[in-house]
């Protein structure tokens, strides 16, 4: 799992393999590479310095474990250090003993506050809470309207003032609390206007809003694509209004997300949630370990394992194991496994998590409709055909295409691809012997691309 980064260090370390302990010189040699990796991931220069210092302290004189190469071991130490830094509890707001619990969202322009507010509202609502959204962004044109639309999509009321009346964010916030009491709401989420941390006037307004709503949770919303500036933003907002947590948005992009580390390091408050897409359900608790892997450029294997654990049906797994140990993996199995995988979430998201995935696949936006077509093709085959695809001749192809509403060339493509999947299964499981996960990373994935 440390493959991606460790390759860079293997050269440095190959001459050190025989030694028993990591020496200071060894660590210095690798520290520069780690520094680069962190800078490429947008971790703030100053934060990188602090991290490297801590790393050197921890790594100095550490025993080299037999199972790891020295490079892997240093990376493991870095990885652990990052997890510790990013860590803390996540995914939970502080609930006020005296409702309503007030959540105030703040941050730069365009960070994703409004969307995050609606996502949070949706999530809390699904936990049985009564939520009120408050539209206190009166600066950006149509921001209020945006929140109204999102509010109606998640079926949560939105408190706002009419556009032709006075536009005073502090007043909106004040009256929101009365409205919450009137509607018997136990959570109030306040969306505020985006502002630069150096805009003294707007920062003053934010403080005034905070003073009238007295938030239980003041959340800073940070775009995962933010660069070095993240520390300045976090520091200034924390000083001005006192942060309780962070929401990291747009992590469905391919930014490495070093900003998360920078922000966590300077404000020391937990990163609570991450935004993982444009849909309102794309909102998840933050996982320090995954973020650490991502910043270091490692695949998100942990998430995958977790999802598999949560969603896989033991019987189906058992059946797959049986077919594999018999050395046969049929289209029936393929279909069943595909359905299993889909339970873990959209296939596109899963592709992104796999280590060693070709870039084209990682970045592919998968239309679930296309996968439905694949399912439809297999479903239009007879049991015998699924067991033995060689039976499928020209006329059967036409029948299957017709039955599934696809074309014969699509059927052909699927059969061809399936053949490769079969071969791969064989290679990986070694005909039923212990499979090697490590082998996957080194596997030639190109054979599976463009099976046309």
């Amino acid at each position: 799992m440390f493959d991606a980064l460790s390759e860079r260090f293997d050269g440095i370390f190959s001459r050190l393999r025989s030694r028993g302990k990591l020496s200071e010189a060894d660590i210095d040699a690798v520290a520069r590479e780690i520094r680069l990796a962190l800078l490429e991931a947008d971790v703030n220069v100053k934060v990188v310095k602090a991290l490297i210092a801590r790393l050197k302290e921890r790594a100095n004189g550490a025993e080299v474990q037999k199972s790891l190469s020295p490079a892997q071991q240093v990376i493991k130490i870095v990885h652990e250090e990052l997890i510790t830094t990013l860590g803390g509890t996540s995914g939970k707001l502080t609930m006020s003993p005296k409702p309503p619990t007030v959540v105030m969202m703040c941050g730069l322009q365009g960070a994703g506050k409004t969307t995050a507010a609606a996502k949070l509202a949706r999530q809390l609502k699904s936990q049985g809470l009564q939520v009120l959204l408050v539209a206190a962004d009166l600066a950006r044109p149509a921001a209020v309207e945006q929140l109204r639309v999102l509010g109606s999509r998640v079926d949560v009321p939105v408190w706002s003032v009419p556009e032709d009346g006075p536009q005073d964010a502090v007043e909106v916030a004040r009256t929101a609390l009365d409205e919450a009491a009137r509607l018997g709401r136990n959570v109030v989420i306040v969306d505020t206007a985006g502002r630069l941390q150096i805009d003294t006037e707007l920062m003053l307004e934010l403080k005034q809003v905070r003073d009238v709503v007295n938030p239980t949770n003041t959340l800073l919303v940070v775009d995962a694509m933010t660069g070095q500036e993240a520390v300045n933003v976090a520091t200034a907002f924390d000083e001005a209004v006192g942060l309780d947590g962070v929401v990291l948005t747009k992590i469905d992009g391919d930014a490495r997300g070093g900003a998360a580390l920078s922000v966590k390091e300077v404000v020391g408050k937990p990163i609570l949630f991450v935004g993982t897409g444009e849909k309102l359900e794309d909102f998840e608790p933050f996982h320090p370990d995954r973020m650490a892997s991502r910043i270091l450029g490692m695949g998100d294997v942990l998430t995958l394992i977790e999802k598999a654990e949560a969603n896989f049906d033991a019987d189906v797994a058992q059946r797959a194991q049986e077919s594999l140990s018999k050395g046969q993996f049929t289209l029936e199995d393929f279909l069943e496994q595909m359905r299993q995988v889909r339970k873990m979430g959209p296939i596109g998201n899963i592709m992104k998590m796999l280590p060693g995935m070709p870039k084209e696949m990682k970045n592919a936006e998968v239309d679930e409709g296309e996968i439905n077509r694949i399912e439809a093709i297999i479903c239009s085959m007879t049991a015998a055909e699924r067991r033995d695809p060689t039976l499928i001749n020209g006329s059967r192809r036409v029948r299957i295409a017709k039955g599934s509403g696809t074309s014969t060339s699509e059927v052909n493509a699927l059969l061809k691809q399936f053949k490769q999947v079969q071969q791969m299964m064989k290679a990986l499981t070694g005909g039923g012997k212990r499979p090697k996960l490590r082998g996957l990373a080194g596997m030639d994935l190109s054979q599976l691309q463009g099976g046309n």
Binding site: A143, T226, G227, D254, L304, M351, Q417
Partner: protein, 368 residues
């Protein structure tokens, strides 16, 4: 055998198989038409019948708020209030009196802190080192000057004028990731065009984000532009198409096309954008600019954005926004250096007047 491991392997292979199949399909020209023009999210909307968008051409409205007095901003003024604190690096360099390793480290750090990124920083610093050697420089302050010169040199020589058609409306399309300031930048350019006596049509082709058309409509009214919009979830292609014909009949000079924000790694959404570009090209209007809007606080991902958008829709320039903050926008140096795509205009605030020309000298002076 550990069952979880097995399950994972099977899952992996299946996913790879499905992924490969999808890619294979996608690369076939015939299947490309399968890509739906509507955004793949917001399931409520996808079932809506493909009716023509309810297009309303709103007449040139008088500005709602008579703006008091309009002062044209300058980068220096905008930056003045905050930049003083950032001279630390160089007073440090100058005070040591000689050029040593620390000098180079400090310079490198200053550039990295400005989000220039490691590769471009290294390239520029190496160039300065070479000159320091060749010119036998010993004064550290001179090193700083040389660095500025190198950076300015990297940025000069580009044509920053926005392209115009010989006759008929010129079309400028705005693209970028979510929240960078596309819509606001359109408002700013609309203002500038209207001030110059040009007729402006705004095409509200972001039909995805809630109230995006509302936002653009407000700007249309404020700047005295016309807007062509459809309903939320309408096909952006038909809005662009209608905007083009409206522009032709109205004799508009420029059409500014607002598009939905999209992360560059979402293949379907990027394909949709490519399609939109093709639609513009098929009409009478002349596509003269495809502008990538980049937020100054963007880190190294900005380069990946530029690369992908360039590949998909062939961007002609960058609009750098939010330079009124403390973020330096150094990523545009990397974009210029690696991809040769220049910054064309700069956003320095939230009103329609907050637009300035990109001046390499000024920009570099503000970097550190």
């Amino acid at each position: 055998m550990e069952p979880l491991l097995l399950v994972l392997i099977v899952a992996l292979v299946v996913v790879l198989g499905v992924g490969g199949l999808l890619l294979a399909r996608r690369s076939r020209p015939g299947v490309e038409e399968d890509l739906r023009p509507t955004p793949p999210t917001a399931p409520v909307d996808t079932l809506a019948p493909e009716t023509a968008p309810d297009v309303a051409l709103e007449p040139e409205a008088p500005p709602v708020e008579p703006e008091p007095e309009r002062v044209k901003p300058r980068l220096r003024d905008r930056l003045g209030k905050t930049r003083d604190a950032f001279t630390g690096v160089f007073s440090g360099i100058a005070s040591r009196g000689k050029i040593d390793d620390e000098t180079w480290d400090d310079l490198e750090e200053a550039l990295i802190l400005a989000d220039v990124g490691v590769p471009t920083t290294t390239k520029v610093i190496d160039a300065v080192r070479a000159r320091v050697g060749a010119e036998k420089v010993s004064d550290p302050e001179r090193v700083v000057e040389l660095l500025r010169e190198e950076l300015v040199a990297l940025l000069t020589g580009s044509d920053r004028a926005l392209g115009r058609a010989e006759s008929g409306p010129s079309v400028w399309m705005f693209v970028g990731v979510n929240g960078v300031g596309k819509t606001t930048s359109i408002a700013k350019l609309a203002q500038r065009e209207v001030d110059a006596g040009h007729r402006v049509v705004l095409a509200a082709a972001d039909t995805f984000r809630a109230a995006a058309a509302e936002q653009l409509a407000t700007w249309a009214a404020r700047t005295g532009s016309e807007i062509v919009r459809g309903q939320d979830g309408a096909d952006p292609g038909s809005i662009v198409f209608d905007a083009m014909s409206a522009a032709a009949t109205r004799g508009a000079d420029v059409v500014l096309v607002d598009t939905a924000g999209r992360l560059h790694n979402k293949v379907n959404l990027m394909e949709e954008l490519k399609k939109l570009r093709r639609i513009v090209e098929r009409t009478d209007g002349a596509l003269r600019e495809v502008l990538l809007v980049v937020d100054a606080s963007t880190g190294q991902n900005g380069l990946a954005q530029a690369r992908q958008f360039a590949e998909t829709v062939d961007i002609s320039g960058v609009v750098l926004t939010k330079l009124d903050g403390t973020a330096k926008g150094g990523i545009v140096l990397a974009i210029q250096s690696e991809l040769g795509i220049p910054v064309k205009v700069v956003g320095v605030g939230e009103t329609a007047d907050d637009l300035i020309e990109f001046d390499p000298e000024e920009f570099v002076a503000a970097l550190f």
